[in-house]
Every structure is written in C-alpha cells, then in structure tokens.
Symmetry: C2
C-alpha cells in the first residue's frame, strides 16, 4: 500500500522549481496533493540520447521526492518518434532507431536513472503503445485541437521561421505527440526543464481538449555546464556524467568557478537565496574560504547523487591526490573533452592560454620551462596522454591539475 | 480497347488553359501524350458541395476532351476529409458528413457531372481508400516530405497568418492529403481552377518525393459570376446551375453585361483573343449587334453543356417570352437569389435601384407608377412572388424582365 504524505510535502516539493502552473489554490499542486490517491507524475525520456549527466539529475531528484512522498512516477520512453527518426532524411542527428537499439538505449537510460530514482517503483511506458496505433481520423482530430499560430509561436520554431531555416512539417507534430502522451497517461503533474515549458503546457492544453483535468506543469532550472554560460550538454563537452567515478566527479566539481558554485548550490542542492547570502557574507568576512565551501558543495552533490559513502571516499581521494607535493594551489581544470587525447604538447599550452602562438610554445618547451607530473618535457613534438590528477607546470608560476 | 488520339490532340487540349506545368518538351504534356497507354487524368471533387454550376463546367469540359481522346478520367471523391469535417468544431461550414450523406452527395454530384462527362468511362475513387488506412508512421513520413515554410506560403494561409485569423493546424494537412491522392492514383495529369495551383503542384512535388514521375498540372480560368467581378459561386448567388432548365439558363446568360460576354466566350467557349477581336470589330463596324452576339453565345453555351436540341428550344422559348408585348428592350435581370421570395414590393424597387428610400418607393407605388406583368400595384404592402419571365415596369422608362 502506498502511504501518501500530504501536508508536509508541499513546501519540499516546490523547492528548487522555477515555475508551477497553475498557481491557484483550487487546481494547483497543493489542492491536487489532497487527493486520496497517488498522483501520476509524468517524465518523458528520449531514447536517442541515453547518456545522463548532472543536468538530468535536477529533474530526476525532484521526481525522487514525489516517489518518496508516495506518488507514481511514470517514466515515459518516447520510442515512437525515435523509431521514425527524421522522415525527411535531412537530419544526421535523427537516424531512425531499430527496436533493438531502442531497447538497448532504454536499458542504459534506466540503469543510470536508477542511481537517483527507485526504478522498481516507477511505471515504465512507451509512447508507441498509443501513438503507434492512432487512426488517420484520430491524427486529423489531434491536429485539429490547436491553431497553427499556437504551434509556430514555440521559440525555436519562431526563430527558425524568422531566419528562414527550414523546419520539416513533421517537426510541428512532435509537441502535439508529446502533449498527447499526457492525455494517454492521465498525468497529474509533468516535470521538465524550463526549455520544455511549451511542450509541458501543450500537454495541459490537450488534456483539457480531450475532457481531462489538465496536468500541473512544474519546471526546473537548466544546469550550466562546467565552464559556465552554457547548458550542461554532452555535445558541449561540459558535463559530469552520472556514471562517472565519484572521485572524478568530485574533481570536476572542484574545477568550477566560484560564481558557478552559487548556481550549483541553488540548482542541484536547492539552497535558498537567503542561505546563499549567508555563505557569501562568510566569505566577505573571511570566516570561510571559497575552496572550503566548494569542497562542501562537491561533497553534498556527490552524497546526493552517488551516496554518502561515495562522497566521503571521493573527498579523501581528492585531498590525497591534490595535496601531495604541496601543489594544492594548482589551478584545477577539467579534462578537455573537446581535444584529441593524446594531445600535442604545443596545443595543450595554447589551450591553457599559457602561450598564444605555437612558436612561443616551442621556445618555452625547448627552454625547459614545461613539465608534466614533475618530468621535464623538452621535445616540442611530444604527445601527452591526459588523465585525471595530472600536474602540468609551465614557467615559474603556472600550475594546472587535471580534475 | 481504347483508341488514343495522339498528335491531333495536343493543340485542342491546351485550348482555354491558363498554365501547364512543366512546359518543357521532355516531360511536358506533348511528350506524355506519346505514351502508348491512356493517361490517368485526376479530378478531385468535394462531396460537401454537390451543386454544380457553369463554373465547374470549365474544368469538366476539358476533362471530357481528354476522355474523347481516349484517356482515363479518375473522378476522385474526397470523402476522407468530408467524414472528419472540422475536428476543432469551430467551422459551421464543415460539419462532419455521415457515410450516407457522402454517398447521397456523391450520387448527386455524379448525376450532374454526367451532363458533361461520360460517367461510364470514368473511374470513380474515394480517397478514404488510402488516406483512411495510413499508419501513424506513414502520417509522420508524409508530413516529413515538406517544410513548414512551403505549406504556409499558400496564399490563403499566408494571409490568415498575417491577419492573425486562426488556422486550425489540421487545415495544413489538407494540401498534403490532396497531394498524396496523386501518389495513390499515379496521376499523369491533374486539372483544376487557377485557385487550385498550389494544391496541384503539391501533388507533383509529393509524387517526386515518393519516387514517381510527377504529374502534369493544368489550370483553367475561374468563371466570373453573372454580375461579374466575383468567381461564380453558389454562396454569392451568381450562378447558372448545371441542372437548371435550359431556357432559364439561356435567359440568365442573356442578362450578363457585354464585358462579361467576352469573358464567357473565352472561358467557356475557348475563343481565342483573335476571334474575340473580330467580334469586337464587327460591333464597332455595326455589322453585328451586341444582343445578337450574346444570343449566339448563349446558344453555343447551352449547346455545349445541355445539348444542341436544348439550345434550339431554349432560344425559341426565350424569344417567345421576351418579345411578346414588344418589351424586348426590357433590361433582363437574373432572379435575385439573395432575396426572400415572395419579396416586398418596396424592397424590390430598392433592389432594382429605381428608388433609394422606402418612402420614395411608397410614393411611386401609390402614385400608380408600378406594374407587375401589366397589373398595376398601388398597395405598398404587396408581396410579389418573383418568377422567370416576370415583367416589372416602374415609372415611364424602367422595364425589367426576370431571366
């Protein structure tokens, strides 16, 4: 039997969210939580991209909260569109996936999700169950529920139209399909990143058109990648994967800027503005060192998503590795994901912005100014295999440690 | 066995057309006519509007030419969309039709078409045969063949978007469905009015996408209604129905303006610019009277679409009716389709622009200045049941004869 924790949950459930629609007392989340049944919490997953990272963890940990409060998380795998791919054949990033590929990707996805969600308590559904068998009339009917203007006002469509970048007509069907998933599931709540707001609202709208009580839309912030300024995304090489070893993730977290640290505290650890203010004041008052606060952050994030034991061990490993030889003042940099590995020593120096030209790099190397893990490199044609913990010294004052 | 008349047909087949796409030697109509098989000529009909008029006759008589040359006219009844109607429920003009209504409308439609086409030689198809059974993947695939920009550039869509008039998203599917009909039929040629050019070209485009030789598109001019300036259309009340008695149609044709007469000679009788020039010169030279030329036109049109025998009889009836009492100089007006019948005598005088206000009409009636079929009307509350041949006199100089 599910035990549903009603009153106490509401405040916790809205922590860290950006928007909850609607906000009113009558139809809002608080009212729905009073229902004497587990709520259906929808989360849509795309089986074409099964590599999960900390960016996904933002929504997943909110789902876990709903699970812990006794509600039913429906993990929806969008296999219908994955099987079709891009029917115009123009997009190389959307090849049609075979049923085997979809099964494999879904298994990978779920294994990773299982680090945060209680998979045994999840309901796993595939949208081909209903989208695959819609009749022609039902397709026309589904399309008839919305106006053209409503669909093409979606930000990315509007931009591409304005820039005359082609949009396949079938692409306009995708938000409708995603919305129809909510109808098929009778979803009470749908969660997603803020970039999903349009699609989540479409679900709400279509449920109403099909005579259902419209779902509550809950959006969560997008996590910035390790170098800041961009959404965490595999293609940008700025991620911490959920399956990475905890000590490596710990190291990467230690490499982020102080500014980004506040963002991670907010988005991943749901610290309030007030709590952040207290931390910042402590730094100003010099009662706390930013490095110490960053360690606390890394520890808390690893504890939340990898487990408390892993967090302890990771912090220990990190401290061992980075404090031997007293290079603790080395600047910690992430493993450059966008470079070939092994990397040409000249390119590495340019990447680290120690030099600006190749000839400058050669002079520095030939002059004996560069060492890797305490070994001097004097041949400017050397290739280096980068790895976590590696120490790079250049000139008298530049020390870098790869996270 | 079909006998296909090849060489001699081309010049006749392009008579009266506005555009033929493509125009080139290799893939054009002339080349296709060389094929050793009957061509498949597609004509789409909408079973929601089964009342045919002379406007439809323009395309139908061109189809008949193809039939007479040994080709196969496929008469395509768009029952799939008719059954769906307007799924958003917002349009009162597109209620979903039941299978019975569609069968009845189609029968009515075909009976009327049979006045021009040889129905026994037509292939009758219903697009629900293929559209009704498209799978979900096939729908997405069909949509994936075109870009959004290509569809919303259709003139009426572009206008409505610019004016912020709502367009149901399903409406964008209609040109795709119509185009897919050409794929399903393997059409060689598709005919339509110039307002159908976009849809006809979509058929051409989709056939190419689906690996077929694209159909030839042939457009014919839109026929202006009896009062000119507007396309002949039932809702505008400016039509000559194909099922109207020939003498009534003859009368209506006699009521059109001289300017419109040239248009009818061109569009319905496929007279060339040179032939029209000769007629116009004859009028200038006073070797021919416009009324005489209009009678020849009416005779030729009735002969073409109702038959030669009917044309003779209609002209005879017309002359009998309109020359008795020597009111042959009466202005011939069509039965006002937009008025209630019986009509209030005051409204009638205003409609004929004999008076501009009701009180002016009353004064004229009470003063004994108005008669209907030689009977003086002095009571301004009188209601008149209008009918063909009725003579209306108002004042000393206004004589009107209802066509």
């Amino acid at each position: 039997m599910h035990i549903i924790h009603r009153h106490t949950d509401y405040e916790a459930l809205i922590q860290g969210t950006v928007e909850i629609i609607p906000t009113d007392q009558k139809d809002g989340l608080q009212a729905r939580l009073q229902a004497d049944r587990p709520l259906i919490i929808k989360f849509g997953a795309d089986p074409t991209a099964p590599d999960l990272h900390l960016g996904h963890a933002v929504v997943l940990s909110k789902l876990r909260q709903f699970q812990d409060a006794g509600h039913t998380v429906v993990f929806l795998i969008g296999d219908f569109t994955a099987r079709i791919g891009d029917p115009s054949g123009k997009s190389k990033t959307r090849p049609p996936l075979s049923p085997t590929e979809i099964t494999e990707n879904s298994a990978t996805y779920l294994a990773q999700v299982g680090k945060i969600l209680d998979i045994k308590q999840c309901v796993i559904r595939y949208n081909s169950e209903w989208l695959g068998s819609l009749s022609s009339s039902e397709w026309v009917q589904l399309c008839g529920q919305v106006t053209v203007a409503r669909i093409i006002e979606r930000e990315d469509f509007a931009q591409r139209l304005a820039q005359h970048t082609p949009i396949g007509f079938h692409e306009l069907l995708y938000p409708l399909m995603q919305g129809y998933d909510s109808v098929a599931l009778h979803a009470d709540v749908e969660l997603g990143g803020t970039d999903q707001t349009f699609n989540l609202l479409m679900g709400r709208f279509l449920q109403e058109q099909y005579g259902q009580r419209p779902q509550i839309v809950m959006t969560l912030p997008l996590l910035e990648g390790l170098n800041g300024h961009h959404k965490m995304s595999k293609s940008l090489g700025n991620i911490i994967g959920l399956t990475e070893p905890a000590h490596q993730a710990f190291g990467k977290l230690m490499s982020i800027s102080d500014d980004l640290m506040w963002h991670y505290y907010t988005v991943l650890l749901w610290k309030s503005r007030e709590e952040i203010n207290i931390f910042q004041q402590a730094i100003t008052d010099r009662t706390m060192h930013p490095m110490e606060l960053k360690k606390q952050m890394a520890h808390a994030i690893i504890a939340k998503f990898w487990g408390t034991g892993k967090a302890e061990a990771a912090q220990h490993t990190f401290e061992q590795l980075f404090q031997k030889h007293d290079y603790s003042h080395a600047q910690i940099i992430p493993l450059p994901a966008t470079m070939h590995n092994p990397v040409w020593i000249v390119d590495l120096l340019k990447y680290l912005a120690i030099v600006t030209t190749s000839s400058e790099a050669r002079r520095l190397i030939e002059g004996g100014g560069v060492s890797i893990d305490e070994v001097k490199i004097t041949d400017p044609t050397t290739k280096i295999t980068l790895q976590s913990g590696m120490l790079i010294k250049a000139g008298k004052h530049s020390f870098y440690r790869i996270a």
